[in-house]
C-alpha cells in the first residue's frame, strides 16, 4: 500500500512530466499536465471519501450530470463545427472566417439540448464507453483541424472573383485574404493568358485587367504573392470577343 502511494504521488507525476516534456518540448506543458493529474487525483480522493455521505450525494449527482453535458457538448461541437469551419474556410474557400455568432449559437443550442435531457436514465458502462469514444474523436478532430488552420492561416486565399468569365480588357475584382499590402505587390496569373495588369493591390482585394490571351477558353486563376506562395486555384473563362453578337 505504501509502495503504491509512493508510486502514485511521486513516480507517476514525474513520468507524466517527462513524457509531456518529450512530446510538447516545453516545461510549462509538463507543469500543467502534472497539475492536472494532481487535481484529478485530489478530486478522486475527495469523491471516494465523500460519496457515502448523504448530504453530498445530490451534489455529486449534479456534478456528474453537468460533466456529462459538458463533455457531450464539446465532443459534438468539435466533431461538427471544426469540420464545418475547415470545409468552409480552407477547403471550399466560401468565407475567410465564420462569424463568431454562428459558433456561439451552435454551441449554446446543443448545450441547451443536452442540458434538458435526463442523463440519470441512460447512465451505464455502454454510455460511458460511448462518451469516451466521442470525446476522443472530438479531440482528435479538433486538434487536426487546429493544426491545419494554423498551417494555412497566413497563406493567400481567394474567396470571391467578380465574374467567372469575361473578355480581354475587362476589369476583374478578386477578394480574399493575405495578399500582402500594396508595397509588396505580387502578380495574378491567368493560366496561359499571362498576368493581369494590376490597377489596385491590397491585403484583401486586387483589381486587374484581363490580358489578351493566346487562345480562348477556361484557365486557372491564381494569386502569386511577392514571396512566391500561390493561392487556391479558381477556374476562369476568357471568352472570344469575335463571337459577340453584332
Amino acid at each position: 500500500m505504501k509502495k503504491f502511494r509512493f508510486l502514485r504521488s511521486t513516480v507517476l507525476p514525474f513520468l507524466i512530466f517527462l513524457i509531456s516534456l518529450i512530446i510538447f518540448k516545453a516545461i510549462i506543458a509538463g507543469i500543467i499536465f502534472v497539475l492536472i493529474f494532481k487535481a484529478v487525483e485530489v478530486s478522486f480522493d475527495l469523491y471516494i471519501s465523500l460519496k457515502s455521505e448523504p448530504r453530498f450525494e445530490k451534489w455529486f449527482s449534479l456534478l456528474g450530470d453537468i460533466l456529462i453535458v459538458l463533455l457531450l457538448t464539446f465532443a459534438v461541437y468539435n466533431l461538427f463545427f471544426s469540420q464545418a469551419e475547415r470545409l468552409l474556410v480552407n477547403v471550399f474557400f466560401v468565407v475567410p472566417k465564420i462569424p463568431a455568432i454562428y459558433s456561439n449559437l451552435f454551441f449554446i443550442i446543443i448545450f441547451l439540448l443536452f442540458l434538458s435531457f435526463n442523463w440519470q436514465k441512460v447512465k451505464g458502462k455502454a454510455f460511458f464507453g460511448l462518451l469516451l469514444v466521442l470525446e476522443i474523436a472530438g479531440a482528435v478532430v479538433y486538434l487536426s483541424c487546429r493544426k491545419e488552420k494554423l498551417s494555412r492561416e497566413y497563406l493567400p486565399k481567394i474567396y470571391r472573383v467578380s465574374a467567372s468569365e469575361g473578355y480581354q480588357g475587362e476589369k476583374l475584382e478578386i477578394n480574399g485574404v493575405n495578399f500582402y499590402p500594396s508595397f509588396k505587390k505580387g502578380e495574378v496569373v491567368l493560366g496561359e493568358a499571362g498576368d493581369l495588369t494590376i490597377s489596385l493591390w491590397g491585403e484583401n482585394k486586387i483589381i486587374g485587367v484581363i490580358p489578351v490571351p493566346a487562345k480562348f477558353g477556361t484557365m486557372d486563376l491564381v494569386v502569386k504573392r511577392e514571396d512566391g506562395i500561390t493561392s487556391n486555384i479558381i477556374k476562369f473563362e476568357i471568352k472570344d470577343p469575335g463571337k459577340l453578337k453584332k
Partner: protein, 217 residues
C-alpha cells in the same frame, strides 16, 4: 467567523438541481475552461464573455428564486444577527428612544454596512480591478496605476494591514511573470511586473514605518 454558513444553509435547504441551477453551474465551468484554453492558445471560436453573462443571469435568477422561497427565514436570521451584534449600549439607547429599527429598509441598511462595506469586499473589488487591468486592458495607464496605489494605501490605512501582506502580493505577481513569459504573454507579464514593483514599494515603505514604530531610540 464573520461569514457563517447559516444563511447559505437557509437558501439551499430546499435545494433542487433544477435546469436554471444546472445552466448556471455548467456555464461557469464552460467559462473557466474557455479562459484556461485561451491562456494556453487554444481557440474554440467561442466567446467566454457570453458564457459568463449567461452564468451571472441564470445564477441571479436561481438565487432570487431561492431567496423568495425562504424570505421569512432570511429576514428572521438577519434580524437575530443584528440584535446579537449590536452593542449593549446601543440596545439600551434604542430601547430608551423606543426607536428600534425593525423595518426591512433599516435591516438591509445594516446588512449593507455589515457585509458589503467590509474589508473582504473592498479587497475583492481591488484585486478584481488589478486582474482586469493586467489581463484585459492592453495599454498601461499611469492614471490607473496611481488610482489603484491610492486605493491600496487607503485600504492599508483603514484596515491596518501588515507590510508583509503587500510583499506577499508583490511576490505573487513576481512569481506569475516567468510563467506568463513562457506562455509568450509578454504584455501581461510586463503589467504583472509593474504591479509586483508597486506592491513591493508600498510594502517596503510600510515596513520602514513599522520598524520605526517598533524600535526604541
Amino acid at each position: 467567523m464573520k461569514y457563517n454558513l447559516k444563511l447559505l444553509n437557509i437558501i439551499t435547504k430546499d435545494f433542487k438541481a433544477d435546469v436554471v441551477f444546472k445552466l448556471a453551474a455548467a456555464d461557469f465551468l464552460i467559462w473557466l475552461f474557455l479562459v484556461l484554453a485561451k491562456v494556453l492558445n487554444f481557440d474554440f471560436g467561442l466567446n467566454s464573455a457570453i458564457f459568463f453573462a449567461i452564468f451571472i443571469v441564470s445564477f441571479g435568477i436561481w438565487l432570487t428564486e431561492a431567496m423568495k422561497r425562504n424570505w421569512q427565514e432570511i429576514v428572521i436570521f438577519l434580524e437575530e444577527k443584528r440584535r446579537t451584534e449590536l452593542s449593549l449600549q446601543l440596545v439600551a439607547e434604542t430601547q430608551e428612544q423606543e426607536k428600534e429599527p425593525v423595518s426591512i429598509f433599516a435591516l438591509f441598511g445594516w446588512v449593507f454596512k455589515r457585509y458589503f462595506l467590509s474589508k473582504e469586499v473592498f479587497l475583492a473589488i481591488f484585486f478584481l480591478g488589478i486582474a482586469f487591468d493586467i489581463f484585459l486592458i492592453s495599454a498601461a495607464s499611469d492614471l490607473i496605476i496611481l488610482f489603484f496605489i491610492l486605493w491600496w494605501l487607503a485600504l492599508n490605512l483603514a484596515f491596518k494591514f501588515k507590510s508583509r501582506f503587500s510583499i506577499a502580493v508583490a511576490l505573487f505577481f513576481l512569481g506569475l511573470c516567468p510563467f506568463l513569459l513562457i506562455l509568450k504573454k509578454d504584455n501581461i507579464a510586463e503589467k504583472a511586473a509593474i504591479w509586483a514593483y508597486m506592491f513591493l514599494v508600498v510594502g517596503t515603505i510600510k515596513m520602514l514605518f513599522e520598524m520605526k514604530k517598533n524600535t526604541e531610540y
